[in-house]
């Protein structure tokens, strides 16, 4: 059964490590719905989160193929309760005062903030589950959306579960 999975990958922060991963996804025909990457509190370690869709077998291959990469330190599929957040910036055209008021109401409903105001444009910042952002954008589609930028989802398990790295340094 095809399901949406959010996978976190801890990687060594080396040049081209992201290319290695995306190139592997492309070569093996895995589709990435979204991708976000950033540094972690551990020096030299970055964290990437992927949203991928696939059946169990595909997801198992995604994880195994990721693990094959030398610079991949840890792969975790967030299957249990998880926090999932995405940020989006949306620029919308505004004509009259009425539109301005309507847009403000929509923003409030989604807890979006107006982060930039111009004579004929408003820019919103919204964070939340990607599905919420989808709905926000859907609402805005009745207006003149000029530009959107989404970061891709980042995720973390709820509660006390954490992704642990094994101790470094191994004599060979």
């Amino acid at each position: 059964m095809r399901q949406r999975h959010v996978i976190s990958v801890l990687v060594e922060d080396h040049p081209r490590v992201l290319t290695r991963i995306t190139s592997m996804f492309a070569r093996r025909g895995f589709n990435i719905d979204s991708l976000a990457v950033g540094r972690t509190h551990i020096p030299g370690v970055s964290r990437i989160s992927f949203v991928v869709e696939g059946d169990d077998r595909t997801i198992e291959q995604v994880e195994k193929q990721l693990n094959r990469l030398i610079e991949v330190l840890k792969v975790v599929d967030h299957e249990g309760p998880r926090l999932e957040r995405e940020l989006a910036l949306v620029k919308v055209r505004v004509e009259g005062i009425e539109e301005r008021i309507e847009l403000k109401e929509i923003a409030e409903a989604f807890r979006a903030h107006i982060v930039d105001v111009a004579r004929h444009a408003l820019t919103f910042e919204v964070t939340g589950h990607p599905a919420k952002i989808d709905r926000f954008l859907e609402e805005l589609s009745n207006y003149g959306v000029l530009e959107t930028m989404r970061t891709g989802a980042v995720a973390m398990d709820r509660g006390e579960r954490v992704i642990k790295l094994r101790a470094r340094r191994e004599a060979v």
């Binding site: 990687v11 060594e12 030398i70 470094r168 340094r169 191994e170």
Partner: protein, 560 residues
Amino acid sequence: MTGAEVLLEALVREGVEVIFGHPGGAIMPVYDALYHRRELRHILTRHEQGAGHAATAYARASGRVGVALATSGPGALNLTTALADAMMDATPLVAITGQVPTTAVGTDAFQEADVTGVTMPITKHNYLVSDVNDLPRIVKEAFHIARTGRPGPVLIDLPKDVQNDTFTGSFPETIDLPGYRPTYKGHPRQIERALAALRAAERPILMVGGGAQHAAQPIRRFVERTGIPVIATLQGLGVVAADDPRFLGMPGMHGTVAANRAIHEADLILGIGLRFDDRVTGDVARFAPNLKTLIHVNIEPADIGKVIEAQIPVVGDAAWVAERLAEGAEPLALDAWWRRIRAWQEENPLPFPEDGELRSQAVIKAFGEATGGEAVVVTGVGQHQMFAAQFYPVKRPRSFLTSGGLGTMGFGLPAAIGAQVARPGETVLLFDGDGSFQMTLQELATVAKYRLPIKIVLLNNGFLGMVRQWQDLFYEDRYSEVFLADSNPDFVKLAEAYGIPAFRVERREELEDAVQRALAEEGPVLAEFRVKAEEGVFPMIPAGGSTEDMITEPPEEARS
């Protein structure tokens, strides 16, 4: 010490004795340092692809890591086919390529190519060295990655300025690769489950692949103990001796009827060191339809469950796991199973037409008999390759070197060079086709230069035979661009032009004498056999087919 000297010192520390390579502008500091390091033997090939395949065959024939050296841009790109080949067939290789100076990287400099970018999907890992003090660590990691886990090629791209830089660092004793820790020891619980499943099976078979070449001893003990029927993939030939009564031959597209029927009927498959590629399985949905238990032993977790679901996955080293299986196994009661297999074998010997014509099968068989199956056999890619797999009775592990996964035409001659360098005292037989041979024949110069006593058996049918066979079967005899005979060179004169003795054989009656003549030659020799052109490799399961679709002998018209 300069970077170039550090590189060579690091190679010596890894136990490297031979490098296959070709110099050029961006790797000249390394070649200059090599000039003073006589303990590193350098084999100069005439094309970087040749260096790559030679290093591959050296690695597979010796069990060591092969090393190839090339310059930047075109030199490095010429290596790529060999890298992809080594990646597919899990061969430990370290390729070192020159790169334009770090200051010029990214400027489209002369002979610049993004070699780490290009080789990313065809290497196990690769490095672009930016600091000379990282070099010893990188070399140590590269060899470690190449030879452990599922072996594979690792490329080190070394900019020219780094080769010249002064080294102020140290050579590390340890390796720190937190993201790379292959599992060697199979889980004891899984091995217990495997042994229990084997005891309970009625129709078990053992399938071995290239990943079992280093595990021949324990596997042979396991087979001896259990009496289990054994099937070897193209890369697994020699793990069990071809004359072992329990050996059924090769599976898949050009496998034996007995091997494919046995897979079809098997209720248990113990697969060691193979990955069930499409040439083995055909249509996956119809592969082994009676299978209840697949015990899949592989050191690469991603290769387990990728194609065929494994009920008992065993992640671990083939030799380690086979050792435990051999210790724990008991004789299996397989009389009824063997009776069925023997019947398939008796009813379906490999087709071997003896009608007085000179055929590839007969040539290979004659060399097999004359060498007792003890030669190191190397092949190109095509019909001759499949005939060699079917008819050369490979007795020993690491002694059948062929391009399986990638199917690289032109693999043969340079691979024979690597094999002969790895095993200097042994008979190296190269079976090659006229199409495959012409893709890398410039390496005749390398054979001549080092007087490598390779016996080149050229099976000349004047066609791209395998493509022609598919045109026969699936494209209504439309022979599109497969005819070579009108423009093939005189191969005897060609070899002689390189100073390599050569002779031509055109009639079946001359075969036995010709085999003796070739084998009696002290140095290299090329024996050209003008074999029957209208010939097909059978049995054949068409691509995407199953055992039920097997064509066991040539269609009527193709036989004439």
